[in-house]
C-alpha cells in the first residue's frame, strides 16, 4: 500500500536550535550552547508518515517541537502548506496551530489531573473559539468514540484510566481541531508491549480515516519501520540518513545507521543469531561541544582523517536516499 504522493506539506530547511548555557545569577552571561538541532533539512509529503529515529539526546524531540514553533528556531525555515511558520507571530501563528498538533510521550504528565476528560479533549475547541458549548459536547463524544473510548468517559478524570487509555485521550485531543499534520513524540514508549500495538493500530486507522500526515518520533526502530513510509536517522543534532523505509532498513548507507540497526534484537532466536553485529564503542559525545567534521567520527568504525576535517554534505546518493557520510559509496 503506497500512501505517499508528491505534494509537499512541510518543508524544513537548515533548521537550527541552540539552547544557551548561562552563567551568573543576576547578569546572565552566555557561556556556551547546547547544539540540540544543528541544521536539518527534509520534506514531509502529504499523507505520509516520516519516522524520525535516534538515540536519546540526538535532538529528535527538539526538531519536532521546533517545527511546531513550540521552541522558536535559532535559524532556518519551516514552511508548512506554503506558509513560513518562523515569520509568524501571535494570532497568525495561533491560527496555523489548528492545522498541526502534537501527541506527547508521557500520557501521565501530558493530561491535567484536575480536568475531566471532556474538558481536556474539548479545550482546543474552547481556546480557538471554534464551537459553542453544545457543539463542543457533541464533538467530544464523537472524538472519544473515534479513538475507541466510551463517550460516557467525558466526566471522568485522567487518573481513572490506564496508560493506553490516557494515550487515547491525548490522541483525541490532538484530533479536536481536525489538523492535517500531527507530531507524534514517542507516543508509545511509555506503554506496555501489548498496549503499544493497540495505539499504533489506532494511529494507522486515524491516518487513513482523516488523511493525516505524521512525523513519528521514536527510538524503537522496529516500530518506526512498521509505521513509517520514509525514515530519517538523527545523530547529535543532524540527520545523517533519510530514505524510504525498506531501502533504509535493507541497505543502510551510513555506518551509524548500520550499527544502530544491527544493535536491535529480533524476537527470533535463529534469525537473530545469523546477523552480524556492529558494536559501537563509547557513548554519544556532548552536544555542547560536538566533534569537528563528521559528528559520528569518534565512534565510527571506518573514520579517516578527512572525517575530522570536513563535515560531510547531506547528499542524495541515490534517488530519494540521502546520506551524510564521505565514504557512503562503499556501501552502495
Amino acid at each position: 500500500m503506497e500512501k505517499a504522493n508528491t505534494n509537499i506539506l512541510l518543508h524544513v530547511e537548515n533548521l537550527v536550535k541552540h539552547f544557551p548555557i548561562t552563567k551568573g545569577i543576576l547578569l546572565q552571561k552566555q557561556v556556551g550552547a547546547v547544539h540540540a538541532v544543528d541544521g536539518v533539512s527534509f520534506d514531509i509529503y502529504q499523507g505520509e508518515t516520516l519516522g524520525l529515529v535516534g538515540e536519546s539526546g540526538c535532538g529528535k524531540s527538539t526538531t519536532g517541537r521546533t517545527i511546531l514553533q513550540l521552541y522558536r528556531p535559532t535559524s532556518g525555515t519551516v514552511n508548512f502548506d506554503g506558509v513560513d511558520l518562523v515569520a509568524l507571530k501571535g494570532e497568525e501563528l495561533r491560527r496555523m496551530r489548528r492545522k498541526m498538533q502534537m501527541i506527547f510521550q508521557d500520557p501521565y504528565a501530558s493530561l491535567n489531573p484536575r480536568m475531566t476528560v471532556g474538558e481536556i479533549v474539548g479545550e482546543p475547541l474552547v481556546v480557538h473559539r471554534v464551537a459553542n458549548q453544545k457543539e463542543i459536547q457533541e464533538r467530544v463524544s464523537n472524538l472519544l468514540e473515534v479513538v475507541g473510548l466510551n463517550a460516557g468517559f467525558a466526566n471522568r478524570y485522567p487518573h481513572e484510566f490506564s496508560g493506553g487509555q490516557r494515550q487515547r485521550i491525548g490522541v483525541a485531543r490532538s484530533l479536536a481541531l481536525q489538523p492535517s499534520f500531527i507530531v507524534c513524540d514517542e507516543p508509545i514508549s511509555a506503554l506496555d508491549v501489548s498496549i503499544q500495538a493497540q495505539v499504533v493500530n489506532l494511529l494507522e486507522d486515524l491516518q487513513n480515516q482523516f488523511n493525516l500526515t505524521y512525523l513519528f518520533i521514536a527510538h524503537d526502530l522496529s516500530m518506526v519501520r512498521h509505521i513509517s513510509d520514509r525514515v530519517a536517522v538523527m545523530y547529535l543534532g543532524i540527520i545523517i540518513e533519510l530514505a524510504d523505509r525498506d531501502t533504509l532498513y535493507l541497505n543502510p548507507l551510513h555506518p551509524y545507521t548500520q550499527a544502530l540497526l544491527s544493535a536491535v534484537p529480533i524476537a527470533d532466536p535463529i534469525a537473530d543469531s545469523k546477523r552480524k553485529r556492529v558494536i559501537l564503542q563509547g557513548d554519544v559525545p556532548s552536544p555542547v561541544n560536538p566533534p569537528s567534521g563528521c559528528r559520528f567520527r569518534t565512534r565510527c568504525p571506518i573514520a579517516e582523517s578527512l572525517c575530522a576535517e570536513s563535515q560531510p554534505e547531506f547528499r542524495e546518493l541515490k534517488p530519494g536516499h540521502f546520506v551524510a557520510c564521505h565514504f557512503a559509496e562503499r556501501f552502495v
Binding site: E55, S56, Q196, Q198, N201, L260, V264, P265, L280, V284
Partner: protein, 329 residues
C-alpha cells in the same frame, strides 16, 4: 531433581495496599540448572521482578510478604533464612542488577568505595587488596582508565558506564547466579548491545548461571536457553528458547509476539494487538487471569485456573485450550 541450582516451589507474594491486598505472585515454581541462562518475560506488573526479589528476601516488609513457597539453594530454603544468613548468600552467591543504574548507586559515595564494600564484607579483604580487585573488576567490564575512575562519583559516569559499574559490583564476589532485572531498559539500543555483549562474554568466561528479566522478547531471543513468560503473577508458558518462539502455545505469548513489529518485517501488515489491559489482582483469581483478554477463552477458562502442564518435553503451558486447534485440550 538434584541437578537444580535453584529450585523454587509454590512461591506466593502479596502486598498490602490501601485498596486491598495485591496478589503479585500466585504460586510460581521453576528450576534453574547450573550454567544456563533463563529469560523471564512479561509486562509491567506481571510479577517477574517480585518473584526474584522474593527469592532473595528483598521484598520490603511491610507492605510486602512472602506468604507461601520454598526456594532451595544447595539444600537450604532461602525463604526460611534469617536476615543475617540471607545477607551472606545475597551478593556473595546470588547477585542482582537492577534496571536503573542511577538509583541503585549511592550518589554521595565514590564508585570505588561502593565496589570495595562487598569485597571487604563478604570476602574479608583488606582495603588495599579490595582496591586492587576493584580495578580488575572495572577493567573486566570494559571501563577505560579504571584506576583513575575509582574516585569518581556515579554522576560522572554515563548511563551505560553506570550499568557496567553495577555489573562489576555484582560480580565482585564471583556469584554463582546472576540475576539481571531489565538492566538495559533505560539504555539506548547501541549501549544495550554493548551491555548484552559484555554479559555474554562474562558468561562464557566465568560460567555464570543467569536469570535475565525483561519485557522485550527480542533481547532474550539470542541470549537465553530457556524462557518463562509470566502473566498476572503466574508462569503461563515455559519452554526452550526456539520452541517458545517458533511454537508458542499460550494465547498471551502468541499475542505478545504478534504485537511486536519486527525489524526485518517486509511489506505492511497490521499488528495483532491484545485487547484490554493487564490485571491488578486484588483477589487470587479463581479462573485463568488472562481469560478477560483471551480470544480463545471457552467456558472452562472462567471456572478453573489452568495448571502449568507439559505439552511436550520441557514445554509447559497453563491453558485449557489447544491454540492450534482452538479446542479444549
Amino acid at each position: 531433581m538434584p541437578d537444580l541450582l535453584l529450585d523454587v516451589k509454590g512461591l506466593e507474594t502479596q502486598f498490602k495496599t490501601p485498596d486491598g491486598i495485591v496478589h503479585a505472585v500466585n504460586g510460581v515454581s521453576f528450576g534453574l540448572k547450573e550454567g544456563e541462562t533463563l529469560g523471564v518475560v512479561g509486562e509491567s506488573g506481571c510479577g517477574k521482578s517480585v518473584t526474584m526479589l522474593s527469592v532473595l528476601g528483598l521484598i520490603p516488609s511491610p507492605p510486602g510478604k512472602v506468604v507461601a513457597g520454598e526456594a532451595f539453594y544447595f539444600g537450604q530454603d532461602l525463604l526460611k533464612m534469617s536476615k543475617e544468613e540471607i545477607r551472606h548468600v545475597r551478593g556473595a552467591q546470588i547477585a542482582m542488577v537492577f534496571q536503573d543504574p542511577m538509583t541503585s548507586l549511592n550518589p554521595v559515595l565514590t564508585v570505588g568505595l561502593q565496589l570495595v564494600e562487598p569485597l571487604m564484607l563478604h570476602l574479608g579483604m583488606t582495603r588495599k587488596q579490595a582496591d586492587a580487585r576493584a580495578v580488575e573488576l572495572l577493567e573486566m567490564v570494559g571501563i577505560p582508565k579504571a584506576k583513575d575512575r575509582l574516585g569518581d562519583y556515579p554522576h560522572q559516569f554515563s548511563g551505560g558506564m553506570r550499568q557496567r559499574v553495577m555489573i562489576s559490583m555484582s560480580l565482585s564476589c564471583t556469584p554463582q547466579i546472576f540475576i539481571a532485572d531489565e538492566p538495559t531498559t533505560a539504555l539506548d539500543v547501541t549501549i544495550q548491545a554493548q551491555i548484552i555483549d559484555l554479559v555474554r562474554r562474562l558468561r562464557d568466561e566465568l560460567g555464570m548461571t543467569i536469570i535475565w528479566i525483561t519485557h522485550d522478547l527480542g533481547v532474550v531471543a539470542n541470549l537465553a536457553q530457556r524462557v518463562m513468560v509470566m502473566y498476572g503473577g503466574y508462569i503461563i508458558e515455559e519452554a526452550p528458547v526456539k520452541e517458545l518462539y517458533f511454537n508458542p502455545s499460550h494465547p498471551y505469548t502468541l499475542g505478545l509476539l504478534g504485537s511486536l513489529p519486527r525489524l526485518d518485517e517486509k511489506g505492511r501488515h497490521r499488528l495483532t494487538s491484545i485487547d484490554g489491559v493487564p490485571p491488578v489482582l486484588y483477589e487470587k483469581p479463581i479462573h485463568c487471569p488472562f481469560s478477560p483478554r483471551c480470544k480463545f477463552a471457552v467456558e472452562h477458562c472462567w471456572k478453573e485456573n489452568p495448571p502449568l502442564d507439559d505439552v511436550t518435553q520441557g514445554h509447559r503451558v497453563a491453558c485449557w485450550v489447544d491454540t492450534k486447534t482452538g479446542r479444549e485440550r
